[in-house]
Amino acid sequence: MIESNLPALQVVLPLVAAPLCVLLRRGSLAWLVTWSATWATAAISIAILLRVLDAGTISYTFGGWEPPWGIEYRVDIVNAFVLVLVSVIGAIIVPYARRSVGAEIRSEQHYLFWAAYLLCLTGLLGVAITGDAFNVFVFLEISSLATYILIACGQDRRALVASYQYLIMGTIGATFIVIGIGLLYLMTGTLNLADMAQRLSTMPLHRPQLAALAFLTVGISLKLALFPLHLWLPNAYAYAPSVSTAFLSATATKVAVYLLLRFSYSVFGQSHVIENISVEAVILALSVAAIFTASLVAIFQDDVKRMFAYSSVAQIGYITLGISLANQNGLTGGIVHMFNHAVAKGAIFMLLGCVALQIGQPLMAQMAGLAKRMPMTAAGLVVGGLSLIGVPGTVGFISKWYLVVAAIEKGWWWLAALVLISSMLAAIYVWRLIEVCYFREPSPELEAAGEAPLSMLIPAWVLVIGCIYFGLDATMTAGTAASAAQSLLEATR
Amino acid sequence: MKQAPKSDEHWLARPRTIRQLWIVFIAILVLTVLAQVFIKVKGYFGVDGWFGFGAAFGFLCCAAMVVLAKALGPFLKRDDRYYDD
């Protein structure tokens, strides 16, 4: 009974838990509810992934209405992977968050924060799991609205402006997506993604299809902060509470990437649209621009959170680069980098949260001598940073390996070289941080500070160890990503 | 080493010692060249079997290198705070 309803529970569980938090009104109780809901959600997502790996695509119909009329949840290996990614990270952050939220957010707002957190998780999971185009929009807005709240909770007043700006941008993005979906609905008469794909493949090319693709691409690009539509991201990540940053950086943009994959491969994969125009070339160019521009900007940041926020823009560039390469290895690289970047950036922002707990907003100068006062935090940051560079033995190496192999397979030496040279830019900003943390005398702010509490360090270090573990043993991540890539590519044939 | 500077508190640094060391050094130099009368140096490419070739070659090469380094000096040398700014 429960087993057959897992796809529904995946979304319903956090959705129900959110109002429960509001009803309980006590911060600690709300935290407990969140804790149980997220871990249960994570368990469900893993169960779903195992089932998908075992038995292939799962289709779940709501209320017994058969697709394409009813709403269908459709889980194949691609979104099963995304579900696991989002829910596991969402779960790991919760035990960490107790102290961090306690320090950064007023106590009477805690239960609301947790409600927003759960709603955000609901939205992200919903986007990933649903097989219905309009549902995508609704869940996207649920997650976005919750995200604006999560960001606005930041202590710095600039968090409010950042949240407002993100609200404007996010709404425009979501509206573009809904316009795209509307145009597709007008052309095909269906909202079911699979059905839509099938109908598009038999239709001749019409201009509204092109317009739909344009609106969808721009809308999704906005959500995933693809250069040059990334401008909302640095401030949002920099001034949001540490917990929000860690959660959003690891999950929100990844779900948007999933949407890009779903639309450009599954929905438009066989249509005449893709045959006639090359979306790839544009995204490729933007990805490369993102990688270089954002990395360069990151080098000059003094606010460490902002620095890593720009680095996120660059790392998203790698993901979209893999997608735009559109061959087996490129897609594998892109998809596995979704996971790898989520783990590495999640770890980094969680550790920065540890720093923030001790000294407030972490600026470069204040983090001097961090290794002496907070050795575990500093060590974790080093591992996370090395992953961003793509040093062998860390997750970053795996993704870049696939990307470069894909570029070489296409005979694009220049691209392989660019990908690798760009890691040197990452090296500059990471090394700048390492040098400051390890080879300077402790700053006055850090002088009195001690190591962060274990309740924060352990979850962060779970991700840090993940950075190394999945860098050495990539069979699970890269294997799943490879079969996901394969299934996406098969859809385009 | 065979030489030492002029200072008087250490035996190696006394001018007398240094003079003696020079004498010994030059004697050894002469000996190594003269030894070639008795010991055949195998010449692999002709010239290197010549009498005293090693000595001449060593001296001239080193002189040439010192001269080359000296000549390059004005182009390459900079004050050691050059990069500090």
Partner: protein
């Protein structure tokens, strides 16, 4: 399960343990782990020991051969002696980094495939950077960044090459290649960067002397020599290497002659010595490869010895510059003697290790009839005596009296120096035993009277030249420009210009787009004028503007195509 465990992992574990232990326990780890590694190295049988799946490849983390064991042996001996030299004085993270660095070197020795090689290669790059940083001065920090960038660049180039070979040949095995296509050229260039080959030799002399007195001992041993090993494994007989090697030999001499910093003189002489080895790999016969391997082995010992003696001087006096040093033999007799033993070895004086290994290379050149190479190497041997054999000990320990009266080396440093001095002389005195370790059978006798006499003439008259031309070699408080000027000055200037531009580039770009739009709009809507709302910069507005621009471009692009 354990059969594929690389001996490198012992050192890696030790590196972690050094961080976790204190006091005597830490000292024990430092001294025991390398010996344990040495033991493990000799347990590795010939051939591939086991395979592991990584990504889509079957990688071979451990593959034994006499050549690989030879290099691993000297690396572990180096780790032991370096540890002995440093354990009472270096900070724990320098020691930890040094052991991780050594672990990378040992790992490269046994790497059976290109991916494993690359993994350990990068491990070395990472932790050697940390060692440079442990110099602790602002100059060391900056040099460390430059060092890291150079090695990252080398790693990037190597990685492109390796991935190219993997994609195009489907094989990740380590096997002899020739630089014939883009992939192999990239691999060659990547390795040569680590060997401090031109035009980027400068990184070595830039970084090593900035490290701590103990750090430079470790640095001198591993990076360049693993590059030599990689060249022997991958590019034996690659003709390009002969030229590269000869250039390095001459470059090292000239720059060392111009140099004032004691440890920088030694750093340049590493380039010079590695040049001999690279040249030998280029010759590529069994004799030459034996020579390269043997010379690397001997070189690690005497170069570490030289860096130790220089390190003791820096440790005791705090001074680096020849122009500030001198006359130290009075109070540091042991350091002086050990420094001289090292200096004689590097100059390949008969009865020292350098003699029995470098003449192998010369012999290989003779056997192949390479006249020019032979004479250039002979000239270089004379030059080595000039710049390292005499110049280094002369200016540091003798020349004028600087008035410094430092104490001699602490006991552990002394012990390390004596150990390596003894090895230098034992190897030189009993070459036959050492020759048996070499990868190919050796039919060569170093001590023929004619050869000894030739080298004595060559070296002693070089010495004469030194003292005759001493006034020309007077130390000046200068540094020498190198290709690193390009990235330390030229690039920096370019970069700061770029930084200025970038600082406001985004805003400026947006502003100009907005201005464009504004002027267009102003024509249509007069009331928007110069004071119009679009003339101002709205952060949110400009973001949305980008969205509009993107959408328009997509639509136009799609409709046109």
């Amino acid at each position: 399960m354990t059969e594929w465990t690389s001996p490198a992992l012992i050192l890696l574990a030790a590196a972690i343990l050094i961080g976790l232990t204190r006091g005597h326990l830490r000292s024990a780890v430092i001294l025991v782990a390398p010996l344990l590694t040495l033991w493990a190295i000799w347990q590795v049988p010939d051939g591939v020991v086991g395979t592991v799946r990584f990504l889509d490849y079957a990688i071979e983390p451990v593959e034994g051969s006499p050549l690989r064991r030879l290099f691993a042996t000297i690396f572990s001996i180096m780790a032991f002696t370096g540890g002995l030299f440093a354990f009472r004085h270096a900070r724990w993270y320098e020691l930890s980094a040094a052991f991780a660095y050594a672990s990378g070197a040992v790992g490269v020795c046994f790497a059976g495939d290109l991916i494993t090689l690359f993994l350990f290669w990068e491990l070395m790059a990472l932790f050697s950077t940390v060692i440079v940083w442990c110099g602790g001065t602002p100059a060391a920090r900056k040099a460390g960044i430059r060092y890291a960038m150079m090695h990252l660049l080398g790693g990037v180039i190597l990685k492109v090459g390796i991935e190219g070979v993997v994609v195009h040949t489907g094989s990740i095995d380590i096997q002899p290649l020739l630089a014939t296509n883009f992939d192999t050229w990239m691999i060659l260039v990547g390795i040569l960067i680590n060997a401090a080959a031109p035009p980027v030799s400068a990184w070595l002399a830039d970084a090593y002397p900035e490290s701590s007195p103990t750090g430079s001992v470790f640095l001198s041993a591993f990076t360049t020599k693993t590059a030599v090993l990689a060249l022997i494994l991958l590019f034996p007989g690659e003709p390009v290497l002969i030229g590269v090697g000869l250039y390095m030999v001459m470059y090292g001499i000239i720059y060392a002659l111009l140099e004032n910093d004691a440890r920088r003189i030694l750093a340049y002489s590493i380039v010079n010595q590695v040049g001999f080895m690279v040249c030998a790999v280029g010759i590529g016969t069994q004799m030459a490869l034996n020579g390269a391997a043997a010379h690397a082995f001997a070189h690690i010992i005497y170069k570490a010895l030289l860096f130790m003696s220089a390190g003791v001087v820096v440790y005791r006096t705090g001074k680096n510059k020849c122009s500030d040093l001198g006359g130290l033999f009075r109070t540091m007799p042991l350091t002086t003697i050990c420094g001289i033993v090292g200096a004689l070895s590097i100059s390949s004086f008969p009865l020292t290790s350098g003699f029995v290994t470098k003449t192998l290379i010369s012999q290989a050149a003779i056997d192949q009839g390479l006249v020019v190479v032979y004479f250039l190497l002979a000239a270089a041997s004379a030059g080595v005596f000039l710049h390292a054999g005499i110049k280094f000990p002369w200016f540091v320990f003798f020349q004028k009296d600087s008035g410094l009266r430092p104490k001699d080396a602490p006991w552990n440093m002394a012990a390390a120096m004596v150990l390596f001095s003894a090895l230098c002389i034992l190897m030189g005195a009993f070459p036959e035993a050492f020759y048996r370790l070499l990868p190919y059978p050796v039919d060569y006798h170093a001590y023929s009277p004619g050869k000894v006499l030739f080298y004595l003439q060559l070296l002693l008259f070089s010495g004469l030249a030194f003292f005759v031309m001493l006034p020309w070699l007077k130390r000046t408080p200068t540094i020498s420009l190198d290709t690193d000027w390009l990235y330390r000055v030229a690039l920096k200037k370019a970069f700061s210009v770029l930084a200025d531009l970038l600082g406001s580039a985004q805003e400026r770009a947006q502003r100009s787009v907005q201005k464009l739009l504004q002027t267009a709009l102003a024509r249509i809507q007069r009331h928007h004028g110069p004071e119009g709302v679009l003339a101002r910069t709205w952060p949110t507005g400009s973001m949305v503007l980008w969205v509009a621009i993107m959408l328009a471009s997509y639509l136009i692009l799609y409709y046109l195509l």
